[in-house]
Point group: C3
Amino acid sequence: MNVREISWSGGRGLVVVFAKGDEFMAGMKNLASTYQLSGASFSGIGAFSTSLLGFFDRSRMEYVKIPVDEQVEVLTLAGNIALNEGKPKIHPHVVLGKIDGSTVGGHILEAHVWPTLEVIIHETPTTLQRHTDPETGLALLNI
Amino acid sequence: MNVREISWSGGRGLVVVFAKGDEFMAGMKNLASTYQLSGASFSGIGAFSTSLLGFFDRSRMEYVKIPVDEQVEVLTLAGNIALNEGKPKIHPHVVLGKIDGSTVGGHILEAHVWPTLEVIIHETPTTLQRHTDPETGLALLNI
Amino acid sequence: MNVREISWSGGRGLVVVFAKGDEFMAGMKNLASTYQLSGASFSGIGAFSTSLLGFFDRSRMEYVKIPVDEQVEVLTLAGNIALNEGKPKIHPHVVLGKIDGSTVGGHILEAHVWPTLEVIIHETPTTLQRHTDPETGLALLNI
């Protein structure tokens, strides 16, 4: 376990409202570049019309794809932004709710917003870095 | 996608502990009025004795009701507070856990706390506004 | 419902990255002691190799155990740290995602990280206290 102490004073925040049809990952990458975010956590709620989730399969060391081809509530969206090879990388997990209240979740690979997604971003006043882990090939946070 | 930059410095916080029997939506509305909250995000954990969730049905443009008539853990409560027609509106999503670990989730319409619900509210140092979207009839965040 | 107003200015933050094989509860207790955390909220994402969840059974006034003996994504980790009888107590709830996207959740009793768990801790600039509730035997937040 590694720990880095930070101070929240001086950290910027962003309130982000995605509109109908916006794709989440493209929007977040765009935002991270525009605001030069090199360290941040975020959370959000809203709804998706279609989404593609991922589960990291330890036996194959790759993401299994979980398509969700129906309108769902975004019950929780949680994640962070860190630099990987000099570029901001978005790491988002989500729990989605269906019309009967049942849930499905995973890592977001792609997600289309409808009618809205309300995200609050909390910048950390220090850069967060990822480095590739040789065993898994994943870019893990390295602080 | 619309974005508004804020500064967290100077923002108030509220630690809120709901007691046995408290109804969540009534408590949050009361709190938002008392503290004149016009922009905030919140998160929480705890447990509900009975709850009524909603799923926004795109084909009917209204909330389908999902009753949960059993004791559940509140695994995640996430949402925000914004002004709608001059009054604070609470927008809460939740994932609930049952005795076998299975989950159910949605938008909270009504929820009764037992034995506790621990909520942390983070005020945004700027007012957030909602406006009615003509297509859905929903009051969407408009920043 | 009890409420305490706080100011976020001056609050410390901690970015914590758990490594392969770390046990979550032991790590958090260790961290709370090292940094003398007497009031904080936290959130996180990552993955567990095995975990043991709990559901507080109202009829028996004790935790029912829910073993999760497979690799899962940590879709949301949410909780807080408060003092109980002078020692920091960790109160964590979690939603886990399986390889098919199905979810399971509860109170974390024990959880082994693989390959990572990324947690952000937000200190409240005031001590939070728990007191034992006679009816349930649970240490509830008392502000």
